[in-house]
Amino acid sequence: MYTDQEYWNPIAETLEPERLRRLQLAKFRRIFAWAYERSKFHRRLYDAAGVTPADIRSFADIARVPKVEKSMMRDIQRKDPFPYGEALCVPLEEVSEFRQTSGTTGQPVYQADTWQDWEWWAECWAYILWSQGYRPTDRVFIPFGYNIFVAFWAGHYAAEKIGCEVVPGGVLDTPARILKIQELKATAMMATPTYVLGMADTAVAKMGIDPASLGIDKITCAGEPGANIAATKKRMERAWNAKVYDHAGATETGAWSYECRHQPGGLHVNEAFFLVEIEDMESGEIIESPGRRGKMIITALDRQAQPCVRFDAKDVIEWDADPCPCGRTFRLLKGGVAGRADDITKVKGVLLAPAAIEEVVRGVEGLGDEYEVIVDKLGDVDRIKLKVELLPGAENRGKEIESRLKDQLRVQTNLGYRIEFYDYGRLPRYEVKAQRFKDLRKKKEG
């Protein structure tokens, strides 16, 4: 039975590493030439750097290809052909899908896809879902407000492709979604970590329903960190009595990575469809060896309408030295995406990744899932305030929890915090991407 097969496509997923590298090089040459020949934006960029398709013979040559920054995509859009601008590589009438980025870092970027690109999105997601155990017998509930953000759209199409029964939980509110999961006996779900925890909270606190009793046995997370943060993953798995899997992707890049059902503590890069390079953030050198963090430069090797060639995604990642027990030859990223280069900030001269704070907060018993971090300045001195909620029943343990929290934060982040406790339910709740880290110093600096 094909459903017993571990891999969605064993031909690709077990390809020997040396052949994978050959495949990537050949595919890079193809997509580079495609973009060079069809996109005025790319042609201008590459001509200015003196790189043409004929120059790409090795990975060292690829490293010479100029990177594309998100700001460049913003600059060219809304021009002809409207609204995508000069990176569009197909006639406008071949575009069948419009999506845009969420705009968390500025003006949203518009993304065009042809129907073939949309098949490609679903195909990439099929690798993800199959590796996490989705099969035609699954009934998949998608509690996502289907809209202009790509988010779980491709997950929906991939689940259909795999043969699952898909329930689009679009305009329902949270209680209605929970009741629909219960009524239909859904077996799987896709959501942001924030919403996975938020749904569980609503089920327990407002409906008296234990989410662990609903029968969901696997949850695919995307859109923000969480499923790669051990303490958050544990909370989600315990709340739902389900396996929680991580995935990282983006509107501009596609769905490039997945955590398989073996939960190896990291993400596989789909190296048959993507080239992921890790660049040292100071020297710009490409990092090949495990154990050194850098930022991701990514190429979607087969996306055509609006190509993604050496896109500076700003995700901070590192290669894992260990292979995954699943047998895939696609390399692993240790711990998934560690953060975004934009988010890692210096506080009191110490590099701080917000994910490290979440790891601590979600690991302390007696604290709720929500928290908020506020960094500001008093005179010339940076300060960090951490707002947390005490769970019902833990109200009298504030001193003990504060002491444990401060100790662990000191160990994990090398920084001291002012802790503010709030009653359970007082901090903001989010449905999609949470905004829990607020750096007020940047506002003051303009």
Partner: protein, 64 residues
């Protein structure tokens, strides 16, 4: 029964050629044109996942 990746590749190419023939034959019929466009996009995923690998990396000796 097992089939090599190289054999699967040949069958994919044959299906793609048939889809292209169909599109040409029904070029005046919107239902044929648009449905075959979707069919070809699906077959393209097999080209990316199988044919490219055989063609770009070697002899296609994989035995599923």
């Amino acid at each position: 029964m097992s089939t090599s990746a190289a054999e699967i590749r040949e069958k994919i190419q044959a299906v793609m050629a048939a889809a292209e023939d169909l599109a040409r034959a029904g070029a005046a019929i919107p239902a044929v044109v648009r449905n075959t466009a979707r069919i070809r996009a699906s077959i393209k995923m097999l080209e990316l996942g199988v044919c490219d690998i055989v063609q770009m990396t070697g002899d296609g000796a994989f035995d599923p």
